[in-house]
Symmetry: C2
Subunit: 399 residues, 2 copies
Amino acid sequence: MNTQALQDVRVLDFTQLLQGPYATQMLGDLGADVIKIEKPGTGDLYRSMTFFNEWLGDGESPCFVPWNRNKRSLAIDLKDPAAREAVLRIAAKADIVVENFRPGVLDKLGLGYEALRAINPGVIYCSATGWGADGPYVKRPGQDLLVQGLAGATFASGRRDDGPVAIGTALSDQLGALHIVYAVLAALYHRTRTGEGQRVEVNLLQSVLAFQAQDFFTVQNLGRSFERPASGIAHPGNGAPFGIYRTADGHLSIAMNPWEKIVAALGDESLHLYDDPQVRYDRRDEIYFEIERITATRTTNEWLATMLALDIWCAPVLRQEQVADDPQVRHLEAFTEVDHPKAGRVKVVNIPVKLSATPGAIRRPAPLVGEHTREVLMEYGLTPEQVDALVASGKVTAL
Amino acid sequence: MNTQALQDVRVLDFTQLLQGPYATQMLGDLGADVIKIEKPGTGDLYRSMTFFNEWLGDGESPCFVPWNRNKRSLAIDLKDPAAREAVLRIAAKADIVVENFRPGVLDKLGLGYEALRAINPGVIYCSATGWGADGPYVKRPGQDLLVQGLAGATFASGRRDDGPVAIGTALSDQLGALHIVYAVLAALYHRTRTGEGQRVEVNLLQSVLAFQAQDFFTVQNLGRSFERPASGIAHPGNGAPFGIYRTADGHLSIAMNPWEKIVAALGDESLHLYDDPQVRYDRRDEIYFEIERITATRTTNEWLATMLALDIWCAPVLRQEQVADDPQVRHLEAFTEVDHPKAGRVKVVNIPVKLSATPGAIRRPAPLVGEHTREVLMEYGLTPEQVDALVASGKVTAL
């Protein structure tokens, strides 16, 4: 009996930066054996990027480490014929291959879908791109922010007088990652019944368009544009009170609720002026500021006590540095700790899904560049002498 | 040979609103047979919600329709014993059950995991909640905006002087949906090898925490908080130029690039003042406005021509109503049209992933309430007389 859902699934991972690594980490979290191919020496480009121009331990990146646990690193130069031969041995046995090079790059290296299918007919080969595998933008850089902007998503948040507002965590990349997982796991299921492998294509652009399905549906079929509110109403298509309000000591979110309950909780009968839902859409900004005038008089916890007793949909609003101390977050063990060989003991977000029979597990931290080069190459049939020769040639990095 | 990846997968879908329905639609898009259980008469609560207080055709919701294609609707009162018997017949043959009631509701109706496992040992039973299946918030309402706020996500976008900024499309719900798909497809794969079913738990809160993994990693391990920029820099942890800039006729996004190329493209040597990356972080707002002063002098297309020639990572920024006309969006056929029985011919976001051997398909539009009640009940062994009796009792709605 397997103890993890994807325990015997072999993933050959040519990805770097965020979209691909996050996807393959999700597969690894549920048990897949992920072999991460990296450039000798410097490795994944994301290792060299960071926030605030600061680093952990001896130069470890807070961008790279969170997306690469449960992987083994094979640092190898794909342009070298002997090195490529070694990679083909792995490809021949891989269930899933994921890559996010610009379209065509792996084909030129003899590692494209057709080449791998020839030696591994059942392979599921996923190409993840920014703008799609072909089309007018095929040669353009496809990056998270660029995709958010082109896909219309930056006009969906913020206030009327703002310019476009980028979503301040890599929305496109992460949606792309989740779409990779969706598509390759469906393809994997298909293969269990038919033996048939296939090519899978995922791109950031369509992932972000799918994310906005109800917005696009509205814009294209009702023929109305979303205009952002002048206040803190939380969606351009919604009326008051839906939004985030200042309190005496922080902020409180209030979602859709029967208006009578809101009026009762706020204790201001004059708000019955706005009993009509159409009025609550048309005059939402005025109503927002009326409400906030009242919420600002008491603390968040006082409002929660009053409102939750009425089953009003509300919650406290936290800053990222406050989240780990929230009682529900602690109860769920949503964060955990991992020992990293260079960064030390680090806090990480735990596996977010629970499978009762096959729970996921963090079996290893993000690897160092080439940490598993020897182990992996020998597992796939190279002799120690062959590995030494590759190391000596400079075409692989082995720790 | 199957022609869709999930062609023979049966999904019993007790979900409503957004998170669950989007998840089961993704399964349906790749071929699963999704039976949507709805309340007789009014159906899914999302059918009664909309934007701008406007509707399509005869009261169809632009919120509901985009998340419910490729499903059949069985409108049935789960509190009625005879009706519940009929649902249990479906449950007995279901591969996947998904529900997003508040924790415990389906247990009380005799449709919880233990009850269904007793009649269907291999069932994969996914409960999707807002805050998790237990813990201190188990009785609190768990809704998209509330989760965004508690999970720290609303302090990740916008500018320094803004309050919390909600992400203006249902971020939590949609991440939750993608996590349901991730977890149930992994569990399904496990079942193909072992026959073992299991309980799967997904919640909005952990889905949104996972989304911010690199932000939390930074906050918790570098011990630094993200402070949003005063300008249009697109992430609190990044320096200039990363952001969205006004042009003479719209907006342009610029991602990370070699700074020399940016200076060359903008044609202002004085920008060499900022050659040091630390300076580009510390003085990012000043730099942002310096750059915008220059980008505002030419059109977006002029800047694209100049910058793409230098392989600078940039793209035009579009409003949602402009997106369908973009050449790459058209090339990908990212939007398509579907005939809906009441809303007429509507434009929808197409299936975002491409599987070469088993492409997804939009086989049917979102159902009307109870549109498939008769068809489904008879498929699962009820006689026409039994169905008539249920209809006569008012416990099911059949169109």
